[in-house]
């Protein structure tokens, strides 16, 4: 069988000792920086990145070369290079793995970026919750400085570049570049309206190039292997590979890196080894809280930025969670929305109030009080939030709701009309019932019920009082005759 994965960003992860710079150099480390500084002009280097077709791996998918060019063209005495390592999506750990397994690749790419844009200072904004990544970055930075890959007169070319670390305190919105910059400046981590883009006016008002960890990790390879090589991998407008954190009801939970254009089916069934035993595929969530849930009919679409958006989800930073029959899609939408409500910075009203209202509507539906009208309200409100929110967080936060309504409408419909949750997740909609035919009146269930909701004479069929029942499931577990079922 042909190998489906190709490791570019993860090329050194699990191969080198991340705390030994010699290991990195032995695998062409800092050769790209050397080549750029000695043989290429900043313009020529930017041209290579542009032609490679590399796009931002943090979720937005903005063309990386173009961003570099914009930052270069803005005139300023001081510019900055920023690495966004504020990985906040639930279940995503791509950036952490790169930083812990191959920190030098990020440092090298930042220095290359500095040379291209005219910046001499780099800042890594990393979550303080990643202590090991921070530690390895610090070791790598110290080594790079000692060996002469950072600091003054790098490789005898007169180029100067230094890197510092800035810690984030774990706010999801700080992954948004303007909020990230404010957080680094010591201000509240709130986004501001773009333009001006950070490339024009960023950190301390100076032109700032912000790229994600994985984007940087691709850069040295593109320089060394050429844009032609890189642009041959992938699809029309999405080149190269993407790292995904594959999780959920999948057999082989793990990190994977696949060329753009690989289908979801290949990822789930071939690389991921299919679903866990007994599980039946229902949905796959991509893009974290900003993404959406895709279903069986989407399994054969080739994964790239544009296809995922067209299907109602997005690439995001690379979280991929596989779900099965035991996942209730309304509850899933609610889970992501509750995350957004928690993480909304509160600056703009559509996001602050709108998401809260969406969450309340979903709460109502999962409690069994929803109406058909609520489904329309969900849709309308979602659209308004998307259209009017200030930053990427609010503009994408209703995606989990919209995509689940779109793809799993029948489940929403059942929740509001039949008051039924087919996955048995929404406890308010569940009812435990004793089958009078099968019940022999052994009293085992009644004795195990923590709230005494089960009554009945010995050797007579028992009954459950739905008013008292707390739906703990203890009775069903204890019954030896399979007489208790969920409606």
């Amino acid at each position: 069988m042909a190998k489906k994965q190709l490791r570019i960003a993860l090329r050194n992860c699990g191969v080198i000792d991340p705390e030994k710079i010699e290991d990195y150099i032995g695998r062409d480390g800092y050769m790209a920086l050397g080549k750029v500084l000695t043989e290429l002009s900043p313009e020529a280097t930017i041209e290579i990145i542009k032609k490679s077709g590399l796009r931002g791996r943090g979720g937005g998918g903005f063309p990386t070369g173009l961003k570099w060019e914009i930052t270069r063209k803005v005139e300023s005495t001081q510019k900055y290079v920023v690495c966004n390592a504020d990985e906040g999506d639930p279940g995503a750990f791509m950036d952490r793995s790169v930083l812990e397994g191959d920190p030098h690749s990020v440092l090298e790419a930042m220095a290359i970026n500095g040379y291209c844009t005219g910046a001499d200072k780099g800042l890594i904004y990393i979550r303080a919750e990643y202590p090991l990544a921070v530690e390895r970055l610090k070791i790598a930075m110290k080594q790079a400085l000692e060996w002469g890959f950072l600091g003054d007169n790098i490789l005898g070319t007169g180029f100067k570049f230094n890197i510092e670390i800035r810690y984030g305190a774990g706010a999801f919105v700080c992954g948004e570049e303007t909020a990230l910059i404010h957080s680094m400046e010591g201000l509240r981590g709130e986004p501001t309206v773009k333009p001006p883009f950070p490339s024009e006016e960023g950190y301390l008002g100076k032109p700032t190039n912000v790229n994600n960890v994985e984007t940087y990790a691709n850069v040295p390879v593109i320089i060394l292997k050429g844009w032609e090589w890189f642009s041959k991998i992938g699809t029309g407008k999405s080149k190269g590979t993407k790292v995904f954190a594959l999780a959920g009801k999948i057999r082989n939970v793990g990190l994977i890196e696949v060329p753009m254009g690989t289908t979801l089916r290949e990822v789930i069934y071939e690389i991921g080894g299919g679903l866990q035993e007994g599980a039946v595929f229902k949905a796959v969530q991509t893009g974290g809280p900003s993404g959406g849930c895709l279903m069986t009919k989407h399994l054969d679409i080739p994964i790239d930025y544009d296809n995922l958006i067209a299907a109602g989800s997005m690439m995001g930073s690379g979280g991929m969670i596989v779900m099965d029959d035991s996942n209730c899609m309304v509850s899933i939408a609610k889970f992501y929305l509750d995350f957004t409500v928690e993480e909304s910075c509160g600056k703009c009203s559509p996001c602050r109030i709108g998401n809260k209202r969406l969450s309340e509507l979903l709460e109502k539906i999962t409690k069994g009080d929803g109406t058909l009208e609520d489904l329309d309200k969900l849709r309308n409100l979602s659209t308004v939030i998307k259209d009017t929110s200030l930053c990427g967080l609010g503009q994408t936060s209703p995606n989990p709701v919209l995509s689940t309504i779109e793809n799993f409408y029948d489940e929403y419909y059942e929740h509001v009309t039949a008051k039924k949750c087919r996955s048995g997740v929404c406890k308010s909609l569940m009812m435990y019932i004793i089958d009078a035919e099968k019940c022999i009146g052994c009293t085992l269930c009644a004795r195990n019920c923590p709230v005494n909701a089960i009554t009945g004479e010995r050797k007579q069929a028992h009954t459950i009082d739905p008013e008292k029942c707390i739906k703990c499931g203890a009775c069903m577990e204890k019954c030896k005759f399979g007489a208790i079922f969920i409606n």
């Binding site: 992860c13 080198i16 000792d17 290991d23 750990f93 793995s97 397994g101 000692e146 994977i256």
Partner: protein, 132 residues
């Protein structure tokens, strides 16, 4: 520590380091030793990679098997952590999953000593930038 002052110096150093690491895995090289890599990212450490690495270091030394035990980053097989890769000179690297100290003992005795395969091998299912 050497400060590298030109691309030429860097290229030379790269070549030297590469030859050295190739030589280690060469069958014919009498000085070649077994290489053991333990995936020590946060995830690996959380699943118990550290005691496994310590065990491998101690035991290989105790049992007089010349080997180089090093840490590395995430091998990407979260479902099978802790993971350990063993390269016997002249052979392809083999990755083992679900390695605890008991498994590590088995790897030393069966795979490293006798070349017998043990359960829990994870096949390499990816292309590298050099093969593509």
């Amino acid at each position: 520590m050497t400060r590298i002052t030109s691309l030429k110096e860097l290229t030379n150093l790269r070549d030297e380091l590469r030859t050295r690491s190739l030589a280690r895995s060469e069958k014919t090289n009498p000085g070649s030793i077994i290489q053991v890599k333990v995936a020590m990212a946060t995830c690996g450490i959380a699943s118990g990679a550290r005691p496994v690495m310590d065990y491998l270091k101690e035991e290989l030394e105790k049992r007089n098997i010349p080997a180089l035990v090093t840490q590395t980053g995430c091998m990407c097989y979260c479902y099978a952590e802790p993971t350990v890769e063993v390269t016997i000179p002249g052979k392809e690297p083999v990755t083992f999953g679900f390695v605890n100290t008991k498994k590590a003992d088995e790897i030393i005795e069966k795979y490293i000593r006798k070349g017998e395969l043990v359960e829990g091998i994870i096949p390499a299912d990816y292309e590298t930038i050099d093969s593509k």
